[in-house]
């Protein structure tokens, strides 16, 4: 019952996302659209991404999988404004929220593979990084959401790996991003902590309704979290599958396993 109602809420949210975009008095973050048109990226002469075209709807959760070195992290870094796509390609465009990407944007937040907390700031101050004075009141709320309400005055050095990533998640969420980019943020965590973190990310995404792009090498993780799984191979989108399983997803479920096998087969296929 509960599951269905949240799912319904989310679907109706997706439908009305555009209308809300124009201006809803209640919701602070507005989920953003992402549009890529024939995007290419070379490092030196080596092509990393070749002619990627992609449209992501507001509020959509997209997972990008692929073998290491396939260019998936580079794609995410371009979305974050930390790298720039090749400029010579004709008709190429990277648009986040309808605007061309030129650098790090206010509405976009990136969660890195490592937590990248500032060791000389307390957990609270890390989350408050870059916030204006009046937004600092949000920090306590967000820390409570990630289950670290009582750790605000601790130094990052005393936290476990999972707790550090929770702080990093809180630091991203406190800005109420319209687009949350996740660059294998759970890669270094143990299996149990991973599942816990996946649930947490799913919950905050369902509640806040931001657009999410998750890069991962873990296919089950992609299938568990995303509306849509993209496979990138040699710099191109090789597969684009929709995951229309009800949330929260049961990993033992037959359709879950079938989808997972389908993607995994394609990832591992010999070229």
């Amino acid at each position: 019952m509960l599951v269905d109602s949240t799912e319904l809420e989310r679907l109706s949210y997706l439908e009305h996302a555009h209308r809300e975009f124009v201006g809803s008095p209640t919701r602070a973050p507005s989920a953003v659209t992402v549009e890529l048109q024939s995007l290419s990226k070379h490092f030196g002469v080596r092509p990393v991404l070749q002619g990627i075209s992609l449209a992501i709807a507001p509020g959509e959760f997209v997972a990008i999988v692929g073998q290491s070195g396939c260019g998936k992290s580079t794609l995410l870094r371009i979305l974050a404004g930390l790298e720039h796509a090749d400029e010579d390609a004709s008709g190429a465009a990277v648009k986040v929220n309808g605007r061309s990407q030129v650098g790090p944007q206010e509405c976009t937040r990136l969660m890195f593979q490592e937590a990248r907390l500032l060791p000389w700031k307390t957990v609270f101050e890390n989350v408050a990084l870059g916030l204006s004075q009046k937004d600092r009141v949000q920090v306590g709320t967000v820390l409570r959401q990630v289950g670290l309400a009582d750790r605000g005055s601790d130094w990052p050095a005393v936290l476990s790996g999972g707790q550090r990533q929770r702080v990093a998640l809180a630091r991203a969420l406190v800005h109420r991003p319209g687009l949350l980019l996740l660059d294998e943020p759970l890669g270094a965590l143990d299996a149990l902590t991973r599942i816990e973190m996946q649930r947490l990310i799913e919950q905050v995404w369902q509640r806040d309704g931001f657009t999410a792009v998750l890069v991962t090498h873990d296919v089950p993780e992609a299938v568990a979290l995303a509306d849509r799984v993209l496979l990138i191979e040699e710099g191109r989108i090789a597969l684009d599958v929709r995951v229309d399983l009800p949330r929260p997803r049961q990993r033992g479920h037959a359709r879950f396993a079938a989808l997972e096998a389908k993607v995994l087969d394609r990832v591992l296929r010999e070229h």
Partner: protein
């Protein structure tokens, strides 16, 4: 057999390092009193203590200590300030690095003490000369460690800061400067070690006041006890500076497990 109580063993732990110095003092005092050790060579510890008391009572001791400490502090402020400023500049700007770093790396290989003849020619033997010598000596350790500290700030953290909307001075204040601080403090401790050496040399060459003056003066009148007192004062001031520098490290780097001991 009973194990000692934790309280007792803690006292024993605290006292243990002082047994050897205490023993040396006792043997020293004993040797002087039996006349085995000439007071011209090494006066008894009690004689040094008496000299300290006499000089303190007349206020002369405090005058000299104050003058010496002021010289050390102003040398530290000028040389350290310049080193910090220039280190921040060359660490942060490629252009400044290209312009200055090669020159500074060449000059740093000249020992500050080798400049004494030149400094005397240029600045005479007054306070200015001392300040210049101390500043030059202090400048390099602070400069080198600041430069190195800025350069070795984790680029991943800088990237994170940028992607979270920090730039310019805010990025500097929140990420770069705190990241360089451990290295800057290492530079400060090197500088503190150096500043006393240079102070002793410059006060021994020529001075009208200060611990070095007091010591050299006493030497002329064969007051070995006052000479010893001067050496002891340098040691104490050096130790005090080190304790302060450690305190700063403990406070500013309290986030680091390496410094977090209570």
């Amino acid at each position: 057999m009973s194990t000692p109580s934790p309280f007792r063993s803690r006292i024993a732990q605290a006292l243990l390092p002082w047994i050897v110095p205490a023993l040396i003092l006792v043997v020293w005092q004993f040797s002087s009193e039996t006349g085995w050790l000439s007071s011209r060579v090494l006066p008894a510890p009690s004689a040094v203590a008496r000299a300290a008391y006499t000089l303190a009572a007349t206020g002369e001791l405090w005058l000299h200590v104050r003058v010496s400490a002021m010289r050390a502090l102003s040398g530290l402020a000028v040389g350290g300030g310049l080193g910090l400023g220039l280190g921040l500049l060359t660490g942060s700007s490629r252009l400044a690095e290209t312009l200055f770093d090669t020159t500074l790396q060449m000059v740093r290989n000249i020992p500050a003490l080798a400049l004494i003849p030149l400094i005397i020619l240029w600045f005479g033997i007054e306070e200015n000369a001392k300040l210049v010598l101390l500043s030059i000596g202090v400048f390099f350790p602070v400069y080198l460690n600041t430069y190195h500290g800025i350069r070795s700030v984790d680029p991943a953290l800088i990237e994170m800061g940028r992607s979270y909307g920090l730039s310019g001075f805010a990025l500097y204040r929140e990420v770069i400067l705190p990241g360089a601080l451990p290295s800057i403090l290492v530079g400060l401790r090197f500088a503190l070690g150096l500043v006393w050496v240079l102070l002793i040399v410059s006060e021994t060459i020529s001075a009208q006041s200060g611990i070095g003056y007091m010591t050299m003066n006493a030497r002329e009148f064969l007051q070995t006890d006052v000479v010893l007192l001067g050496i002891l004062l340098y040691a104490l001031l050096g130790k005090l500076a080190d304790v302060i520098a450690r305190g700063l490290e403990r406070w500013w780097l309290r986030w680091s497990p390496a410094y977090a001991r209570a």
